[in-house]
């Protein structure tokens, strides 16, 4: 790993729960730092932009890039001085940057010098010349939805044909368009088109108070409400230099692990069902339902929404309830062990899972994969292990990895993570410190930045919060791990057969809503 000190940039530490530094860079040092990061085994976390219109600032636009180095998170800010705003392409260094850059142009009008200039999140719902996240855009105007030609990459040759799937599907799932180029049943190429669930969440954040913002953050992707909520409040608390009461941090971890288990249970059932084993779905659905009913009983919401608030958690968990959870953990562990044995020994199901949708570790590294899907492809990164915040620093989380990178590996990682999370829940409940669970956060400083970074069930959720000169939110960027892993599906399906695509897609189970924002 390259030592950060060898890089010719001035790093300022950002206070807070995660090791993070901040630096101003010009175009040249931006590229050299990114290159150094990539060569030292680091990767890209997120790219976003800010618009300092009305603010006393020399330049209007700034591009921010968050990178992971061995020492922690490095946030580079690159002021854009030219007009119309443009920035050097980072897609040649970091593969996942390509779509983030296209999205940044759609939203803020900062053009990257990349070969692919097609729109990404803009689907003709607003004109090409309008950039919604700019401070001078008028959000009250309505625009005619214009047809929007989008050139998919074509494969030519004898017997090649195209299958277009979605955005409306036969089942009730989120909308996304998938363009397959196939020969017979074999997939030569898949191209995704996302952005159908764009809701303007990032723009909405700017007009919300901090306490309201966490509610919105919890609704970015409904299945990761705890991860997004915690990342948001972590960013706000880091920004204000505030630490929430210790008991509330432990309760947040309890909620996060419960969310992880609920989603893994649901996915394992759905994966069985997509393999044609409806028995798996009904069994896992039953377990998940019991699990989220307990959530409702103890946390007041089936999916744990609005439990996390800035400065703590919404309410305490009583001692009787912790005993109830401990009891439930033992039941679930036994049941999941039993079901794991059935899945493992089912020849027909294993035949569907094994060697399907493979992403080998080398490719996964090149693609910059993260989270659960990354760990199933040998990417040994789990925030709870690498950069543990409180209480994970006291829990010794065992990271679950696999090197096969196929659907079976993602199933195994899910099973093992359930068992690990059950262990963590027991540990959290045994060690739960006493004290308050709420506190008031101080007013944030002006023209400042706070970062939040949490390992959700799908992968790491990243939130950046900028304040303006009036100490109000200038820009809030929410980054779902799906950004990194969506492009990986295009590679995972290559050479597979068309009917295996739903299974592969399900084994990743990425968020549309969290990606489209």
């Amino acid at each position: 790993m390259t030592d950060l000190k060898e890089l010719n940039i001035e790093l300022n530490p950002l206070p807070g729960a995660i090791p993070a530094t901040f630096a101003q860079v010009n175009e040249e040092t931006l590229r050299t730092t990114c290159r150094a990061c990539q060569e030292s085994g680091g990767r890209l976390v997120a790219i976003w932009g800010t618009d300092a219109y009305h603010q006393a600032s020399q330049n209007r636009f700034t591009v921010h890039i968050a990178l992971v180095f061995a020492q922690g998170l490095v946030c580079l800010s690159h002021p854009i001085l030219n007009d119309p705003p443009s920035c050097t392409d980072l897609g040649d260094i970091f593969f996942p940057a390509r779509r983030m850059q296209r999205a940044l142009f759609d939203m803020m009008g900062i053009r990257f010098t990349a070969p692919d200039q097609r729109p990404w999140l803009r689907h003709g719902a607003w004109p090409e010349t309008l950039f919604p996240l700019r401070k001078d855009s008028n959000e009250s105007l309505f625009y005619q939805n214009t047809p929007d030609p989008y050139s998919f990459i074509q494969v030519t040759g004898e017997g090649v044909h195209e299958i277009a799937v979605g955005p409306v599907h036969a089942g009730t799932i989120e909308p996304g368009h998938f363009r397959f180029q196939v020969v017979g049943e074999k997939i030569l190429r898949l191209e995704e088109r996302l952005g159908y669930t764009h809701k303007g969440i990032e723009k909405r954040f700017e007009s919300l108070e901090w306490a309201e913002g966490v509610k919105l953050a919890g609704r970015v992707s409904g299945d990761s409400t705890v991860a997004h909520g915690w990342a948001y409040v972590m960013a706000v608390e880091n920004l204000c230099g505030h630490t929430a009461p210790i008991r509330s941090l432990w309760l947040r971890a309890l909620a996060l692990e419960r969310e992880r288990i609920a989603n893994h249970l649901g996915d394992l059932g759905a994966l069985g069902n997509d393999g044609g084993l409806a028995f798996g779905l009904s069994q896992f659905s039953r377990l998940k339902e019991d699990w989220i009913r307990t959530n409702d009983l103890i946390f007041g919401h089936r999916y744990l929404m609005d439990f996390i608030i800035p400065g703590g958690v919404n309410h305490d968990v009583a001692h009787a309830q912790t005993i109830q959870i401990q009891h439930e953990v033992q039941i679930i562990r036994k049941e999941v062990q039993h079901l794991k044995r059935i899945y493992d020994e089912h020849a027909g199901l294993q035949d569907r899972f094994l060697m399907t949708g493979r992403v080998l570790p080398d490719l996964a590294t090149d693609l910059g994969m993260i989270g659960l899907a990354g760990r199933a492809s040998g990417i040994a990164f789990d925030l709870r292990t690498q950069f543990p915040c409180t209480p994970y620093d006291a829990l010794n989380v065992n990271m679950i990895t696999h090197h096969n990178g196929d659907v079976a590996a993602r199933v195994i990682v899910r099973f093992e993570e359930i068992f690990e999370s059950l262990r963590l829940i027991e540990l959290i409940l045994a060690k739960l410190p006493q004290g308050d669970v709420r506190s008031d956060i101080p007013e944030p400083p002006s023209n400042s930045i706070g970062l939040g970074w949490i390992e959700g069930w799908r992968g790491e959720v990243f939130v950046a919060v900028h304040t303006d000169s009036r100490k109000k939110p200038l820009r809030i960027h929410v980054h779902d791990p799906s950004w990194q892993n969506w492009p990986a599906i295009e590679y995972a399906v290559m050479g597979n057969i068309v009917p295996d695509f739903p299974l592969i897609n399900k084994s990743f189970n990425l968020s549309y809503s969290g990606h489209d924002l």
């Binding site: 599907h169 089942g171 044609g276 409806a278 027909g348 068309v498 009917p499």
Partner: protein, 316 residues
């Protein structure tokens, strides 16, 4: 028997085909739900489904040809015809002499060709995908089915189903080892031909994995109702053909009312058991990868050939 009773019983058999087939499907689904620890909507759900679909207004694609509109009626007619040829209640019904087992296979093939053509008619990707997969399964399943039917045909020296049933059930009781092979093979063909798990998944919502359902995506209302009904009749037909070949006991040889009632009772019990058996098979297995289907049906064909060989070696 070409008297009036014969025609009455033939008519009753046709009505039974129409009425019992959705019930059979409902029963199989209900068994599957029970086996999955679910409550299920009850055995009458397919009837409600049909009523609902018949009450709706049909939506047709702009470029739908007459072939597309005609196919549901044609399918329905084919499956009903097949249901009347098979001796379900009695062996000596007038329609039974119209066709033998080879024609029966031909009728199923005809229906398949029409459905595949209709699926490609609109020109959507899924229709083509489904039709292509269906034809792949069809060309593998049909020879296996023919080979299965040859074994009892050799035993009874006739390809007419009535003669086969008469020979197997009404002569003295003999155990034919060859029929065990034929039966195993027939069960595999039944799963493939009726798009059941492990070959196809009739209850999937994943459009990319569909075979039979992919061909029906463009149909709605009465057309869809007829196609769905035809599918359930096809399943019923396969069940009663299986009964006629492998468990023919109970099928009446005369036209006495009492033996008819007995035959009806026997049929009902057989359907209930066989339906439950199918539900068990479907619950226990996962759907196989589509390129495993040729292996699966190749095995079926090989078993059927073994059945015929066994017949010549051991029984002739």
């Amino acid at each position: 028997m070409t008297n009036l009773y014969g025609f009455i019983f033939q008519f009753i058999q046709l009505i039974m085909t129409l009425v019992l087939s959705p019930l059979l499907l409902g029963w199989i689904n209900q068994c599957r739900y029970w086996l999955q620890n679910r409550q299920g909507p009850g055995v009458f759900q397919p009837y409600r489904q049909l009523v609902k679909l018949f009450c709706k207004d049909a939506v047709l694609a702009d470029n739908a040809s007459p072939l597309f509109r005609m196919t549901p009626y044609f399918l329905f007619a084919c499956m009903c015809l097949a249901g009347t040829i098979v001796p379900v209640l009695a062996t000596n019904l007038p329609f039974a002499s119209v066709a033998d087992v080879i024609v029966l296979v031909g009728i199923f093939a005809l229906a398949r060709v029409f459905l595949a053509l209709a699926a490609m008619d609109i020109g959507t990707g899924f229709g083509n995908l489904g039709a292509r997969r269906e034809m792949m399964i069809g060309f593998l399943a049909e020879p296996a089915l023919l080979m299965v039917l040859f074994t009892p045909a050799f035993i009874s020296h006739s390809t007419a189903l009535t003669t086969i049933v008469d020979t197997l059930s009404h002569t003295r009781f003999i155990i034919y080892p060859s029929m065990a092979f034929a039966m195993a093979s027939y069960l595999m063909v039944l799963l493939a031909e009726n798009s059941r798990i492990p070959v196809d998944n009739p209850s999937t919502h994943l459009e990319l994995t569909m075979i039979h359902e992919a061909m029906l995506l463009e149909y709605s209302a009465r057309h869809l109702a007829l196609v769905e009904w035809a599918s359930s009749i096809k399943l019923y037909d396969y069940f009663v053909i299986g009964f006629a070949l492998f468990v023919p006991w109970g099928i009446a040889s005369g036209n006495h009312l009492s033996s008819m009632l007995l035959a009806f009772l026997a049929l009902f019990i057989k359907l209930a058991f066989a339906g439950f058996g199918l539900a068990i098979v479907e619950t226990l297995s996962a759907k196989m990868r589509i390129f495993r289907v040729p292996e699966f049906l190749g095995t079926a064909f090989m078993l059927a050939v073994l059945g015929t060989l066994t017949h010549f070696l051991l029984e002739a």
